[in-house]
Amino acid sequence: MIDKRVRSLAEAVDGIKDGAVILAAGFGGAGSPEALYNALLEQGATDLTIVNNNAGTGRTGLAGLMDAGRVRKIICSYPRSSGSVVFEELYRANKLELELVPQGILSERMRCAAAGLGGFWSPTGVGTRLADGKEEREIDGRRYVLEKPLNGDVALLKADRGDRWGNLTYNKSARNFNPTMAQAAALSVVQVRQFVELGDIDPEHIVTPGIFIDRMVEVPA
């Protein structure tokens, strides 16, 4: 029987190794698996690379991991936001590596990995500093740069409803990076607001099919 549900947050993040690349979902608070981030802090893995749109706010969640010195590198599109105090401290102290990636390319690079492709030619950023060092070529009269796949060891995700096969739905714009990150990691772990029975989600309405999910833990809103 397929049953991806686990009983605790500790079990959900068990085995995540030092040095792991973590695809961390969410756009601001929407779709952000705060309980999993906090559980990962408890779990103790360090030397992490975090892939997220931003770089944490406050002192909990992603910022908590950073504040505890667990994060070696951030790959994101927009590190600074109101409340990104931990990031700013570490960045100025040269204690954090930053790879800045345009938001759509961040997502597309993860999809590229998920789809088993070796890379893609992108028009985004051509002629800008963010294309420095990237291979460029002209295709049919337009300039493109080569972007590489970005895959994770672990994805930490948040969904609305989930069944034991790992089928998921999301709530409104909390969908954001979740479906693509689920596809792009070797181990995909999701906190869902509510476990439901197999068959309760109409097959037409499933956004992330269970094949992309490994572990689920229920965290009521």
């Binding site: 779709g31 985004t124 051509v126 999301y170 409104k172 714009s173």
Partner: protein
């Protein structure tokens, strides 16, 4: 009198036809949402996967799972939909949006856009969706104050700040003028009444050309 920020947004909004799909950049362009022309269905896209962004919610309607690119709570219009980030940027990069209305630090006379970093040494830069939008929308227009607070022109021969995208801006709405970016450089389409063309030129680094049918730039009190 120069237009207020809200009036700049209003002027840009007047050019939005019925049924257009538009992305509003963070900052000044966001104000466009509040001054959309009535009786037109204009579909606002937010890069985080919301198509058909509606007005700000009432206090009792706030859902923190429904936010815009600036992470402010929004609502969804009837007919709106949600997509994931990758699909949202497929829309953006694949020229499915009719228009991106963006803010800017500088625009060059060839349409180069600089709107993502001023290389402030105190802060690491952020790019967000700016480069995807600038490279990917069918058309890019900019809303920007004509000069910085200290009077430095933002409409330049060449951008001094790092570029967001090359040769993409087609129209600029400022507090003083509406300017098209053409093969011959900046062409002034509309200008506020209480400034003459030479004064406008003095506030602009690149050469301005007067459109044959130059019109006054007016906006209602808002």
């Amino acid at each position: 009198m120069p237009l207020s920020r809200k009036q700049i947004a209003w002027r840009a909004a007047q050019d939005l036809g019925d049924g257009v799909y538009v992305n509003l950049g963070i900052g000044l362009p966001t104000l466009v949402a509040d001054v959309l022309p009535e009786n037109r269905e204009i579909v606002l896209q937010s890069e985080n996967g919301v198509l058909g962004v509606g007005p700000a919610p009432g206090d009792n309607e706030i859902d923190l799972d429904l936010v815009n690119a600036g992470k402010q709570p929004v609502t969804l219009l009837k007919g709106g939909s949600y997509v994931h980030h990758t699909d949202s940027f497929l829309m953006i990069r694949g020229q499915h949006l009719d228009l991106a209305l963006l803010g800017a630090f500088e625009v060059a006379e060839n349409g180069d856009l600089a709107n993502w970093t001023t290389d402030d040494p105190k802060f690491p830069p952020g790019v967000g969706g700016a480069m995807d939008l600038a490279a990917g929308a069918k058309e890019v227009r900019v809303l920007v104050e004509h000069t910085t607070r200290d009077g430095t022109p933002r409409l330049r021969k060449k951008c001094g700040y790092p570029l967001t995208a090359m040769q993409v801006v087609k129209r600029i709405y400022t507090d003083l003028a509406v300017i098209d970016v053409t093969d011959d450089g900046f062409v002034v389409r509309e200008m506020v009444d209480d400034i003459d063309f030479d004064a406008l030129q003095a506030k602009t680094e690149a050469k301005l050309t007067k459109a044959p049918d130059l019109k006054p730039l007016k906006a209602p009190a808002l």
